[in-house]
Symmetry: D2
Amino acid sequence: MTGQQKPAQRYGAGIWHFATYVDRYATDGYGPQRSLLEMIDLAGQVGDLSVVDINYPFPGGGVSFEEVEAALKRNNLSVIGITPEIYTQVFSKGSFTNPDPGVRRLANEMCNEAAKVVRRFGADYVKLWPGQDGWDYPFQVDYHDLWKLSMDGVGELASQNPDLKFVIEYKPREPRNHMSYDSVARTLLGIEKIGLPNIGILLDFGHALYGGESPADSAQLAIDYGRLFGMDVNDNLRGWDDDMIAGSIHPMELMEFFYVLRKNKWKGVWQLDQFPFRDDCVGAAKSAISFLKHIDQALDRLDWDAMKAAQSRQDAVAATNLARAALFNF
Amino acid sequence: MTGQQKPAQRYGAGIWHFATYVDRYATDGYGPQRSLLEMIDLAGQVGDLSVVDINYPFPGGGVSFEEVEAALKRNNLSVIGITPEIYTQVFSKGSFTNPDPGVRRLANEMCNEAAKVVRRFGADYVKLWPGQDGWDYPFQVDYHDLWKLSMDGVGELASQNPDLKFVIEYKPREPRNHMSYDSVARTLLGIEKIGLPNIGILLDFGHALYGGESPADSAQLAIDYGRLFGMDVNDNLRGWDDDMIAGSIHPMELMEFFYVLRKNKWKGVWQLDQFPFRDDCVGAAKSAISFLKHIDQALDRLDWDAMKAAQSRQDAVAATNLARAALFNF
Amino acid sequence: MTGQQKPAQRYGAGIWHFATYVDRYATDGYGPQRSLLEMIDLAGQVGDLSVVDINYPFPGGGVSFEEVEAALKRNNLSVIGITPEIYTQVFSKGSFTNPDPGVRRLANEMCNEAAKVVRRFGADYVKLWPGQDGWDYPFQVDYHDLWKLSMDGVGELASQNPDLKFVIEYKPREPRNHMSYDSVARTLLGIEKIGLPNIGILLDFGHALYGGESPADSAQLAIDYGRLFGMDVNDNLRGWDDDMIAGSIHPMELMEFFYVLRKNKWKGVWQLDQFPFRDDCVGAAKSAISFLKHIDQALDRLDWDAMKAAQSRQDAVAATNLARAALFNF
Amino acid sequence: MTGQQKPAQRYGAGIWHFATYVDRYATDGYGPQRSLLEMIDLAGQVGDLSVVDINYPFPGGGVSFEEVEAALKRNNLSVIGITPEIYTQVFSKGSFTNPDPGVRRLANEMCNEAAKVVRRFGADYVKLWPGQDGWDYPFQVDYHDLWKLSMDGVGELASQNPDLKFVIEYKPREPRNHMSYDSVARTLLGIEKIGLPNIGILLDFGHALYGGESPADSAQLAIDYGRLFGMDVNDNLRGWDDDMIAGSIHPMELMEFFYVLRKNKWKGVWQLDQFPFRDDCVGAAKSAISFLKHIDQALDRLDWDAMKAAQSRQDAVAATNLARAALFNF
C-alpha cells in the first residue's frame, strides 16, 4: 500500500462553500449575497480545488451557461455533480414525498433538468438531497407510504436517465426533524429495493457522525454494496450538522475514514461540504485541505501491517497508539 | 391550592410565531413574507392571546407605531415585551461580545431604542436574546473576556434603564455552536455577579429541555433567586430547538413545569415560542393553548397532598401515577 | 378497525425486570440479589402478565427446570423467549464478533443450548442481543470483518435450528460504545443478506427512540420486510437506554407505535423491558401496563378515518390534535 | 510564558483506573476482581504517575492502612485525594439528598471518615461525587428541597473540617438520570451560596464535554471564581461518560483545556479518570500520558502571541490553524 506510486489526490467542494448564508435569525444573511460567478472565483482562490458541485437552478439566477463555463475555465475547475434545489419554498413540504402529486412532478422535472446540466458539463452525477422529505411530528405521516414515495422518486429518475449516476446524500435531520433517507443503512436498504445500478450514496462524513454512525464503518458498508459513488467531509459537535472545518474536532475519525477509503482502493475526489457562516470561506477551505493533505501523509506514515494486526486482535490501545503516531508525528 | 378562586390565566406569544421563516436551505422562505400588521391580525385569530412579544426594529419595516397600535387594539392584544434584533447580519459575530467595539455600541443603542419602545407600549420588559454571542470552534475566543463582555453588555443596559426590566433568554446553542448565556445556572451566575435588581430570566421551556435541564427544576432555581421574570413554552426532540407545538412530545415535563409555577404562586403570562415552519400558524397556536388549558385543569385535578408525600419519599412510581391520573384522565 | 371484536391483549416482560441490578458504581447492587424463582413470583404479582422472557443460563444459578416450571405454573406464566447471556465476562470482547474463535464457538454453543430451552418451554424464539459485539474506539476493528462475523454468527444459528425463530434485538450502544446491530435498517440489511426465513427483529421501543429513529417508523419498516417477530417497550430521555416506565416520558410516540402495530394487524405480545433500578419493580410494571391499556383504549377512541386523512395531507396540527383527543380524553 | 523554566508536570490517576468493572450486563465483571494493593502495583507500572486518588472504604476490603502505605511507597506514589463511596447500595437513593435522614447521616459519617484518611495520608482533599443525588423521573422530587439538601450536605462537611479542602466533581447524569451537581455553573452557584472557602470543583474534562460545555470555558469560569481545586481528563463521544483514553477523540479540545490552565498559571496535577473496561489498564494509562506530554510540548510550540491576537479577533480559522500547527506538527 505504502510503496506504490500514488496519483495526485484531487480535491473538490460544493460551490455553496463560497456562498453567504441566511438562517431563521440572521434573515438578512451572514453577508451580502454572492453571484455564482463570484463563488466560482472564490473557489479558484483556494488553489487546490479541481472540481465543484453546483446547485441548479444556478444560485442567484441571471447567469448563463457560457458565463459559468468561462468562470470555471479561468479557475481551472470542472464540475463533478449538480445538486437540484429540491428543498426551497415550493418543496418545503417535501419533494419526492410531497403530499401534492403536482409538486412531486415538479421535483422530477427539476431533477431531469439537472440531469441535462450534468451531461452538458460532463459531470459525474446528479446529487439528490431531498432534505424536506420526512416528518416533524409523531402521527404526521404514513411511514409505509412515505418511504415508498422516497424510493419511487429516486427510482423513476434513475430509470429515466440510465446513462447517468444518481447519488443520494442521506442525513439524519434538518431541515426536517426527521429526514426520510436518514442513515447509510436505510439508504442502502432503499437502493437495494429499487434495484438499479446507477444509484449510489454520496457519503457526508458529518452526517454519518452526528447520526451516531462511525463514518469509516459507513464507508465500508457502502463500499461492500458497491454503492459509494462520492463523499464529502466537514466536522461537527455530534449533535447537529455544523459543517465546520474538516478535522477541526474529530481528526482521528477523519483519518480513519480515509484509512478505510485507501484500504479499499477507493478512487474519488475528496470534497468539502462546509458552511463557514461567519468565517472567511477561502481560508476555511484552505485550512481543511491542508489538513486533508496532512492526513494523506499520515496514512503514508502509518504502519499498516501493525494496524491490521491490532485490528485483528481488536486492540484499542495499540490501534490508538499507531494512529496517533502517524497523525500527530510522535 | 385547589380550592382558591383562580383569575383567568393569560396567554401570549412571540409575534414571530405568525411570521414565515427562512433557513439555510429554503432561502426563499417557507412562505411569502408577512408584514408585522398581518402577523398581529393572525395572532388575533387565535382567540386566546392577550399579549405579544414584538421584535424591534419592527419586522418587515415600513410600519408606524400608530399602525401597530391600531392593529393591536383591533385584536385585543397588548405588548408584554420587546425583543431587539441583536442577531442579524451586523451582529453575526456577536452583539455584546462582538470583537468590534463599534458593533457592541450598536447593540447597546438598539437595545436602548427597544427600551423606549417598551415604555411607549407600557410593556413589561426588554427581552435580550444575544444568540450570536458565543463561539463556534475551540480556541476561537478568550472565555474570560467573552463572559465579561456578556455581563457588561447586559449590566450597562440595566444601569442605563433602571426603570425597566431586562430579561435574558438563555439557550444552549444556535445560531452559535455555543451561546454565551447557555443555561439557567450560568445565567443566574452572571446576573448575581452583575448585581442589579432589574435583570431576570425569560425561561424558554424548550431551551432548558434540550440543554439537558429539567425545565421544572430550572424554573424552581430561577424562582429561588427571585429572577424568573417571564417564560415561554414549545417542544422539541431534546437535541435541538425545534420549537414545536407545546406538549406535542413532552406533556409530562410540561405539566411538571406548570406544577412548579403554581406551587410557587408564580403569576405571569403563559407564552408560546413556536416556529411552525410548514404548519398553519394559527392552528399550531390553538393546538398549544388548548393543551395548556388541559394542563391547567389537570393541575386542578391533581392530588397535591399525595404528590407532595410522594416527592418527600422521592417515589417515582407513585409520582408518575399521580401525574398520569390527572393528565390523562384515568 | 374499531368495530371488530378484539381478543384480549397479552402482556409480557423480560424476567430481568424483577431482578436487582449492579452498575459500575453500585457494585454491591441496588438491592440484595434475587433468585430466578423470586423474580418469577414477583412477575406473578403484577397480575397482568402472561409471558416472560428468561435469561439462560438461569440467573443466580442453582435452579432446576422443574423448579422454574413450577414457579411459572403457580404464577400463570409461560415463556415467550429465551435470552442467552452472550454478554458476560467471557464475552466481554464480543460474542459472534469476538477476536478469539474459541469464544465465538462458546457463543454458538450457548445459543444452541438456549434453543433447546426454547423447545423445552415451547417458547417462540431465541432472543439474540449481542451487546458486546461492536467497537469502542476509532481504528479498533476492521468493519468489514466485524460485520461479516455478526451476520455469520446469527446465520449459523438459524441454519442449525431451522425449526426455531431467532430474533435480533438491535441497540445503538451500551455496553459497547457502538454496537454492531445498531439500528432497524442495519439489522434488516444484515437479515436480508443472511437470507434465512427464521431470523427477525425484536424491536425495543427505547432502543429505536434513543437511536434517533421514530419507533413507529421502525416498526413499519420491519413489518414491510416481514421481520417484526417481537417487541418490547420502555422509555428514556433520548440519550441513553434508560429503560424507564413505558409512557412516562414519550406517551405520544408510544401511542403512535401501537397505532402502527394495530394498523398493520400485528398480533403479538406487548412486552416490557424496564430496569427499575431504585423503584419497586412490581409497581413499575403495573404502572406501565395500566398505561398500555390506556393507550389501547385511546386507539379505540381515535378517529381513524380522520387520522388517515390528516396523514395523507401530512397535516401535523390535525394529526396532533386527533391523537391528543384520544390519548388525553379531551 | 514559553521562555520560563517549567517544573516537571506531575501526573496522577484515580485508583479505579486499575480496577476491573461490572455493569448491568456483565454482572460477573470485565475481569477478575483486584485488590487495592494490586491496583496500586499496576499504577506503579505506568511509570509516570506521582499520585493517586483512592476510594474509601478501601475497595475489596480486608486491607490495612499499613499495607496501603507500603504499596504506595514501593511504587513511589502519594495520595492526592480520597473519594468516599457515597454511591453504593445503601446510598442508591441518594447520599446528601437521600429521603431518609438516617442515610444522610451515614453519608456525612462516611465523608468524615474519609476526611480522617485524607489527614493520615497528607492528601489534598476529600473528593465528593454524590452520583446518586438527583432524580430519574419528572415529578419525582421537590427541586427546591433537593438542591437545599445538596448544598447543606457539602456545607456541613466543610464546616466540620475547616482544615481540609472538599472538591465536588459535578456530572450531568449517570447513574442518576439527572445528577444534582450537574454542571460547572450550577456547582459554582451552590458553592457561592454555601459561602465557605474550602469547597471547590474537581473538573472532569469528560463530564464537561458530554454536558455540552466547552471544558476550557468551564475551567476558566471555575478559575475566575477561585474554585478550580483539581481536575482529571479522559474522553468520550459527547453523549455519555465513556471514560475513554484522553485525547483519543477530542485532541483539540483537550489541548485547549490545558492551554487555559497554563494561561492562568494553574499549577496542579494532571489526573486520569479512565475506565478501560476491556483494555489493558496500564497500556491505556501510558497511552493517555504520552499524549498529555505531547500536548504539553505542543503548548511550548504554540505561537501564544498569534493565538491571543486571533482570539481578540475571534478568528476561528486562524486559531484553528495555529493550534493545529502546534498539535500536529505541521
